[in-house]
Symmetry: C2
Subunit: 302 residues, 2 copies
Amino acid sequence: MEVLKRLDEFEKFLNQRAKMVDAALDFYLPRENDYPGKIHQAMRYSTLAGGKRLRPVMVMESAKLFGLPFEKVLPTACGIEMIHTYSLIHDDLPVMDNDDFRRGKPTCHRVFGDAVALLAGDALLTHAFSVIARNSDIDGISPLAVIDVIKRVSKDAGSNGMVGGQTVDIESTGVSIDKETLLYIDRHKTGCMICASLWSGARLAEAPAQDLKVMDDYGEKIGLIFQIVDDILDINGDEKLLGKPTGSDVKNHKNTFPSVLGFQESLEMVEKLSQEAKDLVSRFDNNEFFIQLVDFLQSRSY
Amino acid sequence: MEVLKRLDEFEKFLNQRAKMVDAALDFYLPRENDYPGKIHQAMRYSTLAGGKRLRPVMVMESAKLFGLPFEKVLPTACGIEMIHTYSLIHDDLPVMDNDDFRRGKPTCHRVFGDAVALLAGDALLTHAFSVIARNSDIDGISPLAVIDVIKRVSKDAGSNGMVGGQTVDIESTGVSIDKETLLYIDRHKTGCMICASLWSGARLAEAPAQDLKVMDDYGEKIGLIFQIVDDILDINGDEKLLGKPTGSDVKNHKNTFPSVLGFQESLEMVEKLSQEAKDLVSRFDNNEFFIQLVDFLQSRSY
């Protein structure tokens, strides 16, 4: 009961932070009536469609952990969420997963057509770097830290990061793969941008190199927890709560943790990773957020 | 005869610079055998397919005009060429123009499939910002100048720049448009990245604000010259020299300068813009490149 109450409060806290991110995204996105309207409507439609905003909140909390007020990293937090949104728009296109629903709403290409959805994704990815660069306008943020963040985010979003994971994911669709390949896909497709979020917040707060490494390692653990739980939810989750149809992995012949490792091993892996993630951040004071985040991610699978 | 000889030498100079850009692109692109190989092969296939490398050479020459050795801006020059290449890959996709040839070779999606081509475009755009950010590693380049360049390039590549132009271009395909809309499309689809190239080289060389403005204005003129001549060549150019089939604008029901304004007015516009562009850079010493570039771009229509 105590744990459930704590998780309930944590979720309220997350929602509160997510609202702040929503407001900042609204501010940093181009206006809907800016010419040409259609592309800006598409960018806003997909970015402001809700979502837990986990990545931006991770940027903010990681900055706070190292003594920087979280408001100071809002541009980077928003830029990373725009990159996440672009990846979802392109992932949903007919040429990729051909999904019709996302976050409880028709996907971007279902509303705006395939060509505008493609361009809206391109524009969001491009705009993201503009918004991250604007973090240097904020008092107390060093330009070199912003450049480091741009280097890191572009590496983790690119062909050796998120896009690399998507490439292997597509190549493996409908093909039987081993655990190693599955881990590559998920570490890259989901994990890299989670690591980049945690690293970026800490870097903007001028955290020392060894602490940046700890946040990276923590990110890798929770990225995997997140993906394993997501795979499990796609099998036995509640469509209404998820905002998208379940069973899409099976429908799309996707390899998942339950399909490659089985349910039992997947759940044991979540358990083990959760403990390791908590151990990593135990060295920091004021680490409550990062401990509770692990419990929260793990709890989604119950 | 004198002019032709001068143009011939200018073209040799351009080719020489292009080779330098090719070598730098080869260096800054991920290796072909980096895992996952397919995405890196696709990125390299399209980026290293040749081309005049006008945008990167503009970055380099603009830096030189303001006293900075052109080698120092090679990362930014390459990043801008990667953005140009990604835009071509996505533009050629079946969901957009559905073109089969580019620079004399089958288009990216014809070789690697639609999904990998989409991802290769995404990865190139992402990698571009990483490479531009690396310009800050070069001795004598200020981090703030690099951040300004990232802000500028992302603005000009995004929904208020190149992608905005592509959006209106698609919406206008097969529809009769006025001169104002045509100018919007071409100023954004082609012009913005040319302006960004000239501006970025000058900014990295710490050129004063009024000179940055001059390079911007010059860029807008030559961007239009470039596009008008391109439209003319698509009607009466030589397929072998162009490396792509002519007549694709008519086939794709694209609005072009000749179709909206007529041949005569299009040629007169090139003439007028050429004079204005030369007048703009006449205030600078060592402006030969920028004067000859105008003659070169204009001469392609003969």
